[in-house]
């Protein structure tokens, strides 16, 4: 047993982080907030880099890696707040032609919501009669499916979920973990810089303890998500989604608190993490359902 990342996995993570730093830095993030829309050029670049074909066999033009590697990639996606229906397109690779290469953008209806409907080339799931809503997240356009649409299975034990669905849930959880880790870094960096009462606020226990709590939440969710990627177990995936949703939303809230008044501004990136975390928490599997799935496994 060695739960640590292998050399190759560490290289993969570093490579993805560098690619995203180059192609989607903070300026690009803020530009995307000001003029929303899907960057097709970036999408094709991601396709060329193997984002979507990561888990396809090499003989089918894929990278031939597994779910643990995909989870590491999507942690980075969440960390960088990269926009677009990346999970849906990744899961569609090998099934929907063009998805693997980044030529086709795929979205899917989930829990009564359809992200990126107008920009997507292919929509999977029940999106009949979907109407646009003014999305709380400036980086995720949303449609609502009327009635109970999209919620075809109010409760179903995890082992009966199709693999594509459970994989989507897990990768969404991985994005949440990436975001939770990032907001921890942001809060710590701010707490080491901001001075009040003649000292940096990170020296005050009230602030320190908030940061420590954020780190614990993020790490617990991270091991849960990574282990679920290794086992592929449906109940473990549900539990990982539950903890990851909570880590991402609660850490964004605590980060906002550490930032003080700055945290309430449009200019700081904190709200972008919080709003995206709220959206992801509604997608794939909500907390209430995840708790029921794990309870059913007891």
């Amino acid at each position: 047993m060695d739960f640590r990342l292998t050399e190759d996995q560490r290289d993969l993570r570093r490579g993805v982080r560098e690619l995203l730093a180059r192609r989607f830095d903070r300026d690009a993030l803020r530009a995307a907030v000001d003029s929303p829309g899907l960057d097709r050029g970036l999408w094709r670049e991601l396709g060329a880099a193997g984002f979507f074909s990561l888990r396809l066999p090499e003989e089918d033009g894929g990278v031939g890696l597994g779910l643990p590697e995909a989870v590491l990639v999507f942690e980075e996606v969440g960390r960088a707040l990269l926009p677009g229906p990346l999970v849906a397109t990744h899961v569609a690779a090998g099934v929907v032609p063009g998805a693997a290469e980044g030529a086709v953008v795929v979205t899917s209806a989930s829990e009564g919501l359809v992200p990126w409907l107008d920009e997507a080339d292919v929509v999977r799931g029940e999106a009949e009669g979907a109407v646009p809503v003014r999305s709380v997240d400036p980086l995720t356009p949303l449609h609502r499916v009327p009635g109970n649409g999209g919620r075809a299975h109010p409760f179903r034990p995890a082992e009966h979920l199709p693999t594509t669905v459970s994989t989507g849930i897990l990768l969404t959880a991985a994005e949440q973990v990436g975001s939770a880790g990032r907001t921890t870094e942001m809060a710590v960096a701010y707490a080491r810089e901001r001075e009040q009462f003649g000292q940096v606020i990170g020296g005050f226990q009230a602030v320190k303890h908030l940061c420590a709590g954020m780190f614990v939440r993020a790490e617990l969710a991270r091991v849960a998500v990574r282990a679920a990627a290794v086992t592929g177990d449906g109940v473990e995936i549900a539990g990982a989604k539950l903890l990851a949703d909570e880590a991402a939303t609660a850490n964004a809230r605590d980060c906002l608190q550490v930032y003080g008044g700055m945290g309430f501004t449009w200019e700081a990136d904190v709200h972008l993490h919080l709003k995206r975390a709220w959206v992801r928490a509604r997608l794939g599997m909500t907390g209430a359902r995840a708790e029921e799935v794990v309870a059913a496994g007891l």
Binding site: M1, Q199, Q205, V223, A224, L243, E291, L298
Partner: protein, 378 residues
């Protein structure tokens, strides 16, 4: 990211499982939890069986993964806990193994492993709890002996212990309070020692106050250099936080299963709020088990001493375990007020988890300062 065990590790697991199946039915009945001499005899008898079967030194000598398997399997099989041997096997023993001389290891370790000697811990003092380094129990050198005077508190198993791992101040004028501390092995039958049991809110007397009045301890009983006791102690404490709770995560997962069965039987399972609460706890304990595997993997790669990762674990674990007993009280209803139910006593005991072995507040300081690099301060 590999969670599978090697063939060698699986073989270790299979042999252990076989031995447990053969051994556990032959154990004597468990003693009255309030009868300390009987508990000592029971715990030492179990340790002797482990020794004879070659499992006695699993806490120090086996690889971290083997230790994890050992703790997982013994808990799953319902084997006895370390009990009175907790300090010997998980605190003092590992410290002596890591920092003692060859002669000290030869003298103190075999009796711990055989279950002949029980150790207790003399660290905390009335005015040195979270701020352990401010301890004042004084050791004055007199030839080949230290003359020790002071008071210790929260000393588990003091009434039945043979030895005490004792922290004393050997240099009151040291430039910082962390220097000037030494680690001594004190025989509990030395003249000048008075043990007074402390009754906990659970009604039991597992702790004691220990009063030391000019107790003479040979200089040869010092582990590590004089005034270097704080560093020696940190080794012990990181052991405590890193691996001491492994079996308890497995236990919590078993308890949750029991609770779900009870809830299904008594109808409380139909309450979605309770059901979801148990689901959340199950997700948390599963994640804590994964965190344990991550910490063990890290320890295995870096030479065995668990680092600050233990604090991350303990922070969430102690909170989750308390929450487990609160959920249990909801499932049990009126029975949760009955002291004759195991759950009730366990619920009371769990109140110490966010305090013992470093309070949650101290753990958050450790995470913030040592992992996140935030400045020291209050």
């Amino acid at each position: 990211m590999d969670l599978t065990c090697t063939d060698e590790e699986e073989e270790f697991r299979a042999r252990l499982r076989e031995w447990l199946t053969a051994t556990l039915p032959a154990l004597p009945p468990r003693p009255d939890p309030l009868d300390w001499p009987a508990r000592r005899a029971y715990d030492c008898g179990w340790q002797r069986r482990l020794y004879d079967a070659g499992y006695a030194d699993v806490h120090w000598d086996a690889s971290p993964t083997q230790r994890l398997i050992y703790l997982e399997e013994t808990e799953l099989a319902g084997a006895p806990y370390v009990g009175a041997n907790f300090v010997g096997l998980l605190h003092a023993g590992p410290t002596i193994a890591a920092e003692g001389t060859a002669g000290q290891r030869e003298r103190w370790l075999p009796p711990i492993l055989r279950g002949d000697h029980v150790w207790c811990q003399g660290f905390s003092e009335p005015d040195a709890g979270s701020d352990l380094a401010s301890l004042r129990t004084r050791a004055v050198r007199d030839g080949d002996e230290y003359v020790v005077t002071g008071q210790k508190i929260w000393t588990s198993h003091a009434e039945v212990a043979d030895w005490c791992e004792l922290l004393v101040r050997t240099d009151p004028d040291a430039p910082s309070k962390h220097r000037g501390i030494s680690w001594l092995a004190m025989p509990m039958d030395a003249p000048g020692i008075t043990v007074r049991p402390l009754r906990t809110l659970a009604g039991s007397t597992e702790f004691a106050e220990v009063f030391l009045d000019e107790v003479r301890i040979p200089v040869g009983n010092r582990v590590g250099d004089e005034n270097d006791g704080w560093r020696v102690t940190m080794v012990t404490l990181s052991f405590e936080r890193g691996t001491a709770f492994v079996g308890e995560v497995v236990a919590c997962r078993r308890l949750l299963g029991e609770l779900a069965r009870t809830a299904r039987k008594n109808g409380t399972w139909d309450d979605p709020v309770l059901r979801r609460r148990l689901g959340r706890l199950a997700a948390e304990f599963r994640a804590l088990w994964r965190l344990t595997q991550a910490n063990v993997s890290e320890a295995q790669a870096t030479g065995g001493v668990p680092g600050a990762g233990g604090s991350v674990f303990k922070l969430h674990y102690s909170h989750a375990r308390q929450e487990l007993y609160e959920a249990a009280a909801t499932v049990l209803g009126p029975d949760a007020l009955d002291l004759d139910r195991d759950w009730t006593l366990d619920r009371l005991s769990s109140l110490s988890y966010t305090i013992a072995a470093g309070t949650s507040q101290i753990q958050r300081n450790i995470v913030a300062e040592r992992i996140l690099g935030l400045p020291k301060g209050r």
